[in-house]
């Protein structure tokens, strides 16, 4: 029983991280219907920028994180301006492919700048853990709590921003009907640019929460975006809350699969089984609901 609870807690922690990564996809997708395969690369860039500010320039950890988020947001703005803006009206596949190309370029630039070896991002969390329910209870690491709080905090901030700020309302208007938004005087291009900046900044936070502590940073970090795909689709690519819920559900499923399935499966089938279970769950969900759990149904017109 303790093992089960412990695994669920670990799953929620890693899942909220997936959710945070997925939220970055959602922000861009909702406004511009661009599915951004370069998101993992922004996460990578944000981590290395944090490394640069914290370890190379000696700025305190959280200040460095803030600066890196700002710098990544600026990079997001530039990429949107230079590459994505000319893609308006192009086919889904072309836009998708340009983001893949951008991902390859950004990853290569990061390797060029910082090399491919694993670097330490610093560890502001230490080994601090809390015990819930007295001795023999469930252990929760400070980093896990930070992950959960960050996911909830970013989601709340985003929702508040969308509800109360002028720009946020413009974002919602653009999401619901781009043409109508343009017709009512909303600068849609500015909305897109802001979305890319927000997504890049969230990616930085998610990346640093993933890599600080024992993990360290290396160029394979961008693959976490691939691990977050199932979360994204499960929640529905246009639902911010769905992204976080989907992330937590799949985090728990993944950790439980890694904890129990290897013992149950014969031979070597248990190795790395947790990497495919999310996709199997995802397929099952999509066969029943092709737009995810909370996604907007697509309406077609002849």
């Amino acid at each position: 029983m303790t093992k089960l609870v412990q695994l669920v807690v670990a799953g929620i922690a890693i899942g909220s991280l997936y959710g945070l990564v997925a939220l970055g996809f959602v922000v861009i997708y909702r406004a511009s219907h661009v599915f951004n395969f370069a998101h993992g690369s922004f996460l990578l860039l944000g981590c290395y920028l944090t490394y640069c500010f914290h370890q190379q320039l000696g700025i305190p950890f959280f200040a460095a994180l803030g600066l890196a988020a700002l710098a990544a947001a600026a990079a997001g703005l530039i990429v949107e301006r230079v590459a994505l803006r000319r893609m308006v009206g192009q086919s889904v596949f072309a836009v998708l492919m340009i983001t893949i190309g951008l991902a390859v370029v950004i990853d290569a630039l990061v390797v060029w700048g910082w090399g491919a070896e694993r670097l330490s991002l610093g560890d502001p969390w230490g080994l601090t853990t809390f015990r819930l329910g007295g001795d023999g209870g469930v252990r929760v690491a400070a980093l896990d709590i930070a992950r959960l709080v960050a996911a909830g905090g970013v989601l709340a901030a985003y929702q508040l921003f969308c509800r109360f700020s002028t720009l946020g309302i413009a974002m919602r208007a653009t999401a619901s009907d781009q043409e109508a938004a343009v017709a009512s005087g909303i600068d849609v291009r500015r909305v897109f640019a802001v979305c890319w900046a927000i997504a890049a900044a969230t990616a930085t936070v998610a990346g640093v929460l993933l890599a600080s502590g024992a993990r360290g940073i290396d160029p394979t970090l961008s693959a976490v975006a691939l691990a977050a795909f199932p979360a994204l689709v499960l929640g529905g690519v246009d639902s911010p809350a769905g992204a976080i819920v989907g992330g937590i559900v799949l985090g728990v499923v993944e950790v439980l699969a890694a904890g129990y399935l290897p013992g149950w499966l014969p031979g070597r089938l248990g190795d790395n089984v947790h990497t495919v279970v999310p996709y199997v769950v995802l397929l099952a969900v999509l066969l029943v609901r092709p737009s995810g759990m909370f996604g907007d149904r697509e309406r077609a017109r002849l």
Binding site: F93, A108, L232
Partner: protein
């Protein structure tokens, strides 16, 4: 088609045949191996282009099918020692069958959802390739010699009329012969009833179904054909390299396939072939030239420089030349044919 165009096409065909026969005699083994890999990728890319450029579906799962083909080559060719036509046919059946299954699963999905499910196919594949050593040799991979005879011609030890040829020379003829055959099949498929159904689904799914096209059937058949050709490419790859490791069939391989189609020009027969030659040849060219480039001073490795170039090529082609190399060539060749094409055709397919 007017008379000069027919003459030009005939000239191109003659030039291609001459190149096919003469290149292996003129180019060294290294150059030939680059061209052999380009040909193998061209076979798979022609298949992917039918799915992407004609049926309008998105797939990042092509690496999976190439893996399927490679393991068919390993098990039926190298292990069981079956003849080449048999293992090639088996690759078609296995790739086509699994392609149809993927197609069935993705019938209701579109856009981003479809892209992600096909990414999932690659991950499921990687899991299977790593964890079922009985078929794949597990994480260490497996190698072997697959028979490569066609009638009296053994492409592993080609010997015609007393003249022996190197393995690279023989495999060049084999692979590019297969490319020609694949291209012929694809060209005819596109003009068939099925091909027209694909085109209609690509243009407008709902409109296609409204005029009585079975959209599901069109999608599943496109996925099946793409899977089959991907598997053929994989089995030929195994036959040539004589080894298959599980991590070769990664998402990046899928991305490379899509890049080949887009850089070459999707929806055009010559596109995937041109793309395969350019994207397959560039890294080798950079490696050869790298001794003369000041990249060490810049702190760049050759592998990283190649990644950078690859990414930039993809971004630039998608952004500035949506028709790819083939489309740019068509446009450069003059407006007459382009003007006669219905407005919008081709340009938006990329």
């Amino acid at each position: 088609m007017n008379a000069p165009a027919v003459g030009r096409n005939r000239a191109v065909a003659v030039a291609l045949v001459i190149a096919y026969v003469a290149l292996p005699l003129a180019v060294g083994d290294f150059g030939l191996s680059v061209l052999i890999f380009a040909g193998i990728f061209a076979i798979g890319a022609i298949g992917l282009d039918l799915l992407v450029g004609h049926a309008g579906q998105i797939s990042l799962g092509h690496a999976f099918f190439m893996g399927v083909g490679a393991y068919v080559g390993l098990n039926l060719g190298a292990e069981a020692g079956l003849a080449m036509p048999v293992w090639l046919a088996a690759a078609v059946v296995a790739g086509g069958g699994l392609g149809a299954v993927v197609g069935l699963c993705s019938l209701r999905l579109r856009g981003a959802y479809l892209a992600i499910i096909t990414v999932g196919v690659v991950f499921v594949g990687l899991y299977v390739w790593n964890n079922v050593p009985a078929i794949t040799g597990g994480a260490a991979g497996a190698g072997g010699d697959a028979p490569a005879s066609l009638g009296p011609l053994d492409f592993n030890r080609l010997d015609v009329a007393g003249q022996a040829y190197s393995r690279e020379q023989s495999w060049f003829w084999l692979v590019w012969g297969l490319v020609a055959a694949t291209a012929a099949v694809a060209a005819n498929l596109v003009r068939s009833r099925t091909g027209r159904a694909w085109q209609a689904v690509q243009e407008h799914e709902l409109a296609a179904s409204a005029i009585g096209i079975d959209v599901s059937r069109a999608k599943v058949s496109a996925f099946a054909v793409a899977g089959a050709l991907g598997a053929v490419a994989g089995s030929v790859y195994f036959g040539y390299v004589q080894y298959a490791g599980p991590d070769e069939w990664s998402l990046f391989l899928s991305v490379q396939f899509v890049a080949i189609v887009l850089v070459g020009g999707s929806g055009r027969l010559a596109g995937p072939v041109l793309g395969a030659i350019v994207l397959g040849g560039t890294p080798r060219l950079v490696e050869q030239l790298s001794v003369h480039l000041p990249i060490d001073g810049l702190g760049l490795t050759v592998a990283n420089l190649n990644r950078l170039l690859f990414g930039l090529l993809v971004v630039c082609f998608v952004a500035f030349a949506p028709g790819g190399l083939a489309g740019t060539w068509e446009r450069a060749k003059g407006g007459r044919r382009a003007l006669r094409r219905p407005a919008g055709e081709g340009e938006e397919q990329a």
